[in-house]
């Protein structure tokens, strides 16, 4: 049973199978490789067309790398990435450039993702020029439309990035990503550099645009609250691996993996009555280095329920009754629902 069938039943837009990215660690003058950072370590993931996948994890979890792999902005070490019916990992440079019309990206910090030397109108026009070959009046009109689409006046297009607030500029970055009517937009922490009041603006915009245009998102964030507002499905990553993936409602209301449980409980709720009555699962220790991840289940060094088998054997995939895919030894792969024991 694949995730696509579990999910909305639509055809998969993106299907990643066994995707791995190992960054070599090079030392010395001869740039000898002395090890590898396993940024992404064998991830299977499906994004049905028009749906939105939230990807959460802490720093070093490999979530951003996974997003870039999906667009092949970096080369995967192994695995396949099917976008509709073409394998992105095997495309030649030309076809890859062409397919990027259908898959775009919104980056974390709009001030660094927009060229400070180009006017914002020029940046929004770039995909229209290179992908659609638009010129002159037609180009102008399309740029103006895009500004209106993200609720900004087209009169702003002659201005430079440093004249905008973070929220405004991020909306312009969204306009650039939507210029070619893509089927998939990878949003890499699109609101984490913004303030609360502007954050809400961009989140609402992204949610509205998905409803209007039927785009699929891979929405990467470390803030589970943010992801919640735009995602149909949620994937949780830890040290390069997907540890849990399922329907957003299911993941939030009944997280299966001990890491997901800890992550959710770690976020302080902005309500003193609720927050002070919660019991927080405080994980011991630090995130291990992705250059030297623990054996077996990567989470075993910090897991409150660690067993011997966790240290030795990679946890198998288990699918629970609510359709969540979990990789944890506590949950047998039979599909039977087994609840994680309460915190000791």
């Amino acid at each position: 049973m694949t995730a696509a069938q579990v999910g909305t039943g639509q055809l998969p837009l993106v299907q990643m199978t066994g995707v791995t990215k190992h960054f070599p660690i090079q030392r010395g003058v001869m740039r000898r490789t002395v090890g590898h950072v396993r940024a992404v370590d064998g991830v299977d993931m499906t994004i049905p067309s028009g749906s939105s996948m939230g990807l959460v994890g802490e720093s070093g979890s490999g979530k951003s790398t996974l997003g870039r792999l999906m667009l092949r902005l970096i080369e995967p070490t192994s695995g396949t990435i099917m976008f509709e019916d073409s394998d992105v990992t095997r495309l030649k440079a030309r076809s890859l450039r062409r397919i990027r019309r259908h898959m775009q990206m919104v980056f974390q910090d709009p001030y660094s993702s927009m060229d400070p030397r180009s006017s914002v109108g020029d940046s929004v026009a770039e995909p229209l020029r290179t992908q659609l070959g638009l010129r002159g009046r037609e180009l102008d009109e399309r740029v103006a439309d895009l500004f209106r689409l993200v609720r900004l006046s087209p009169t702003y297009r002659g201005r430079y990035p440093n004249e905008f607030s973070g929220g405004q500029l991020q909306r312009i970055a969204v306009a650039r990503a939507l210029a070619t009517n893509p089927k998939l937009v990878v949003c890499d922490e699109p609101v984490s550099s913004l303030d609360v009041s502007t954050k809400a603006e961009v989140i609402n915009l992204l949610a509205d645009l998905q409803d209007e245009l039927g785009i699929a998102y891979l929405f990467i964030a470390h803030d589970l609250g943010v992801v919640r507002h735009v995602s149909d499905r949620i994937g949780v990553m830890y040290l390069g691996r997907l540890v849990e993936e399922g329907d957003a409602e299911a993941v939030y209301s009944s997280p299966k993996h001990p890491y997901t449980q800890a992550l959710l409980s770690a976020i302080p709720v902005p309500d003193p009555v609720v927050q002070r009555s919660r019991t927080r699962i405080v994980l011991e220790g630090d995130l291990p280095s992705p250059a030297n991840p623990p054996s077996g289940c990567h989470f075993h060094t910090r897991c409150p329920y660690v067993m011997d088998v966790c240290r030795a054997v990679d946890p198998p995939l288990a699918v629970t009754s609510d359709g969540t895919r979990v990789f944890c030894h506590l949950i047998p792969p039979t599909g039977a629902e087994v609840l994680v024991p309460p915190a000791p």
């Binding site: 062409r98 405004q168 609360v196 939030y252």
Partner: protein, 665 residues
């Protein structure tokens, strides 16, 4: 003189206001266009003078023979004739007119400078772009070759090449070109490499823009401005090399005049005719100086950072915020450990002083955790630094107010007194654990220093105390950590070290400025639990500066909400979340993406947080408030008492509270 490129120093940073409170204000409305750079350049007197001098040199290069009043190789005058109306700068040992030789000789220096630089640009730009953008083996080979050329001083390699090619100006120029190439290749390569990693270049790749277009539109424009600056500096160096080589007999050959061979010839007579040495020497030095000054000016004009000195704040003592009028001390309000009253802080900007924190008043009781919450630019961090007087003057200055701590006003204190309080009675924990520890010293060194600054204890005792504290904040194997450097530790561990450092002297008050913002969620949870535990054990008071209302809800007793440099609402934590009175607080609470209730749309606040120069008169939230009326903008709004010990800065708070009650009912 080294090849100036390799010795380029970073652009002027010191005069820039680095506080995030002023972010985007100074940078706004200034696109990095050449037009702006030219405008800024024209406003700088010294580089402009240098530029005019360069123009003069260029005129002499093209029209020198017209300006010269004698034939530069005519030997008919008296030898060393001295200064006269006919021979303005005298004559040389062969009776040639020095002024004419100087003027005509300009051509040699300037021409060789420009010609060499042009050749360098043509060769080095593509090589540098290739090495930087393609990288890999090609880059490695190019770097090795440049290293090899660079292993000889520029003058030595130029001399070697010139000697192989034989004397003469053109060969000298080739030699100079060769000596200058490595510097520019390295510069272009480094700049390309840096730009290639920029997110906006990655964005262009994600768009599917072809590489040649990326190079042309995204990389080259970024490489260009440092290259232009470097070129100007290299021109000076090229002129120096030409003069040196000619002085050694390699360049322009006699009898044709050049500054270098004039110097060479005159040097023989230095004891009797020092003036004839002095004249070409000054000409050479002035030319180099003008190209250097021109280049420095260009760099400043092109830099993103405002180079105009900020106006409005006088230079204060290093490490202590200046205070404009230290009002006489008043008595500490009963039952408080800290009372901040009417604190107002201004920053110097090129346009004059700008107030960033206005009339901030709040107090902290012993053992209490007070949250100072707001979005970036609201003045919360400035407020917390101002209490410890840690804002640099310039640009910052406290213009009025009182900071009463333990019966004393901190604002009139001299540095020596303030120093005894810092880290001893009041300690701080900063936002970014990565950069708040000195990378060059061990953890132990920094902890021991914190203890010994305030206590006369031996190093061994201090180390024992440091180990205890590291233990207390949950650092495993504390003793051996003392010998480690900050970069050995993770972010969470470093924050623990900083917390330990704050606690070494049992402070009465800890000011924590966004202590968990830079950390991952699970690590943030650890640190929050740690802070709660320590606060229970030590009973110290704490000010927690944060933008995260979840963190506030978790650990604060009371909260002050800041907006645009003012406190807009102050209340107990339960009251604030249950009954927010100020429209901003209300909107802020609605705008937080939460774990539960995802189906609701988030409340948005229209517009953006105004920068200090654009703060509205009257209520500063009035431009974004949905309940705004004329009375809101009429004048400053006072902080008024409302409800159970709450304070609100809103003229309509009673009205709105009543309305809210009605709606709910």
């Amino acid at each position: 003189m080294t090849d100036p490129i390799v010795a380029l120093e970073p652009p002027e940073l010191s005069s820039a206001v680095t506080t995030d409170e002023l972010r985007s204000d100074e940078l706004a409305n200034t696109p990095t266009s050449w037009r702006r750079a030219v405008k800024r350049f024209v406003g700088m007197p010294v580089p402009m003078a240098a530029f005019l001098y360069i123009v003069l040199l260029l005129i002499l290069t093209f029209f020198g023979h017209l300006i010269a009043n004698h034939d530069p190789i005519d030997q008919t005058a008296h030898r060393f004739a001295g200064l006269s109306g006919n021979h303005w700068l005298g004559t040389d040992d062969l009776g040639r007119d020095t002024f004419s030789r100087l003027v005509v000789g300009t051509q040699v220096s300037i021409r060789s400078g420009f010609q060499a630089i042009l050749q360098v640009l043509i060769i080095a730009m593509p090589i540098g772009l290739l090495a930087g953008y393609v990288g890999g083996k090609i880059d490695l080979v190019i770097l090795r070759v440049m290293d090899a050329i660079n292993s000889f001083p520029g003058l030595v390699s130029a001399l070697a090449i010139a000697s192989v090619l034989g004397p003469g100006l053109n060969n000298t120029i080739i030699a100079i070109t060769f000596a200058l190439i490595p510097g520019l290749v390295r510069l272009v390569r480094a700049q390309t490499l840096a730009l290639r990693e920029e997110t906006y270049v990655e964005a262009s790749r994600a768009i599917g823009t072809p590489i040649p277009t990326i190079l042309r539109k995204r990389i080259v424009p970024g490489v260009l401005s440092p290259v232009i600056v470097a070129t100007s500096l290299q021109l000076g160096y090229a002129i120096l090399l030409e003069a040196s080589l000619t002085f050694l007999g390699m360049g322009a050959q006699p009898p044709n005049p050049s500054w270098g061979n004039m110097l060479q010839r005159a040097f023989v007579f230095i004891f009797t005719e020092p003036l004839q040495v002095f004249i070409p020497a000054v000409a050479i030095a002035l030319a180099i100086l003008s190209f250097n000054l021109f280049g420095d000016g260009l760099r400043d004009a092109l830099s993103q950072i405002e180079v105009k000195p900020p106006k409005g704040v006088k230079r204060g003592r290093l490490g202590l915020t200046s205070v404009k009028d230290a009002t006489p001390e008043t008595t500490q309000p009963a039952g408080t450990i800290l009372a901040v009253q009417g604190l107002t802080v201004e920053f110097a900007t090129p346009a004059g002083p700008l107030t960033v924190v206005t009339d901030v008043t709040f107090d902290v009781k012993p053992g209490e955790i007070v949250g100072l919450v707001g979005e970036s630019g609201c003045g919360k961090s400035v407020t917390s630094s101002a209490i410890m007087r840690l804002i640099a003057s310039p640009p910052g200055r406290i213009t009025s107010g009182r900071v009463l701590f333990d019966g004393r006003d901190l604002l009139p204190l001299p540095f020596a007194e303030m120093r005894k309080i810092r880290g001893n009675d009041i300690a701080m924990v900063f936002q970014d654990p990565m950069s708040s520890l000195n990378p060059a010293f061990t953890i132990g060194n920094q902890l021991v220093e914190a203890i010994q600054l305030h206590r006369e204890v031996s190093k061994a005792d201090a180390e024992t105390r440091a180990t205890e504290l590291l233990d207390l904040v949950g650092i495993p194997d504390a003793r051996s950590r003392l010998k480690e450097y900050p970069h050995h530790l993770s972010g969470g561990m470093r924050q623990r070290v900083l917390i330990a450092m704050a606690l070494v002297n049992d402070p009465k008050l800890v000011i924590a400025d966004e202590p968990t913002t830079a950390l991952d969620v699970t690590v943030q949870a650890q640190i929050l639990e740690l802070l709660k535990k320590l606060q229970r054990e030590f009973h110290m008071a704490m000010i927690l500066v944060t933008h995260d209302l979840g963190v506030v809800a978790d650990i604060c007793d009371r909260v002050a909400v800041m907006y645009a440099g003012e406190i807009v609402e102050q209340a107990s934590v339960h009251e604030l979340f249950a009954n927010p009175r100020h429209p901003y607080t209300k909107a802020l609470l609605g705008a937080i993406p939460q774990l539960a209730g995802s189906e609701d749309r988030l409340t948005t606040i229209p517009g953006v947080v105004p920068v200090p120069s654009l703060w509205p008169k009257g209520c500063r939230f009035s431009t974004r408030c949905e309940f705004v009326t004329d009375q809101c903008t009429a004048g400053p709004v006072p902080l008024e008492a409302a409800g159970a010990g709450q304070l609100v800065r809103c003229v309509r708070h009673d009205e709105l509270a009543a309305q809210g009650a009605k709606v709910e009912a």
